[in-house]
Symmetry: C2
Subunit: 145 residues, 2 copies
DNA sequence: GCCTTGTAGTTAACATGTGAATTACATCTT
DNA sequence: AAGATGTAATTCACATGTTAACTACAAGGC
């Protein structure tokens, strides 16, 4: 089997695909002075409710050292809160604040419009199939292949 | 249309997919003390021949400021060379050195083995289809949708 | 109770991502 | 030829990615 060229390798294709998609969201995030990762943290907490750092890191696909810094910044801006867990001095519960919820709600319409535009350009069925295939790939690679 | 949950959004799926794939390559790169981006630069130059910085940045999907730093580091390690272009003092041609070629050749077998293992786990046909779909997505988003 | 082992989170060090500003050249215009 | 405009590359400032080391705490074994 030939070594894949950079023109057709899975890592490069995934990277570029993500770039072109995120390009549509960046202006929105920049206008509200939040990063892509901060946005992911907010959404996960909004959807899931309070979480400990490890679980939050997994769900938002952010590494622990990055999450530590992100949490600190977002606490200062009062988008999230942190409360120590009784019975275990190591853990802390992270939760979205009312201001965080407000930000999510403010951005919701634009966010939906962007997603819809992507679906429209690429095709709704293709979009669904692509998501299925990516999830399948993630499964095949993460379950001790 | 509902806002996509973090469990099924294209940006998150692309990010996670890339993570699980790259996890297989990182040990190899770490053993040779090169980063993922340095590896991309080497491969692009090996496949394409000498390039100017802008073209190299595009092909390797690396932003100009990052490329500046990467080039500097790789020049010091003598994996690449740089030659000013006559007639235009701004441009420089970047090329892979013999040591760079040697590194690529040394890693080739392991690289192929990793790709083959991924194809095997995920399915060769699925793999091809996924690449096609990703390229199609990139096209649909980059051509002034 | 003390010691070992394990776990959650943080810190440190360095590389890259990202957007904005800057420098060095080229080219165009008049 | 001087000035305006455009382009290639770099620099700056800050955020995140990444690995390794470290701290703080918990649970289990003796």
């Amino acid at each position: 089997m030939l070594p894949p060229s950079t023109r057709r390798s899975l890592p490069m294709a995934l990277l570029r695909a993500r770039e072109v998609i995120m390009a549509h969201f960046r202006p929105m995030l920049a206008r509200h002075d939040i990063t892509e990762q901060q946005w992911r943290v907010l959404r996960v907490l909004a959807e899931t409710g309070p979480l400990e750092a490890t679980e939050l890191a997994n769900r938002a696909s952010i590494l622990p050292p990055s999450l530590t810094r992100i949490i600190k910044a977002m606490e200062e801006r009062e988008f999230i809160t942190r409360n120590k867990v009784k019975d275990d001095g190591r853990r802390a519960l992270l939760a979205i604040s009312p201001a965080g919820v407000a930000l999510i709600e403010e951005l919701a319409p634009e966010r939906i419009a962007i997603y819809d535009a992507i679906e429209k350009r690429y095709g709704a069925e293709e979009h669904e199939r692509l998501l299925d295939m990516l999830e399948s790939l993630i499964q095949s690679e993460s379950t001790e292949g």
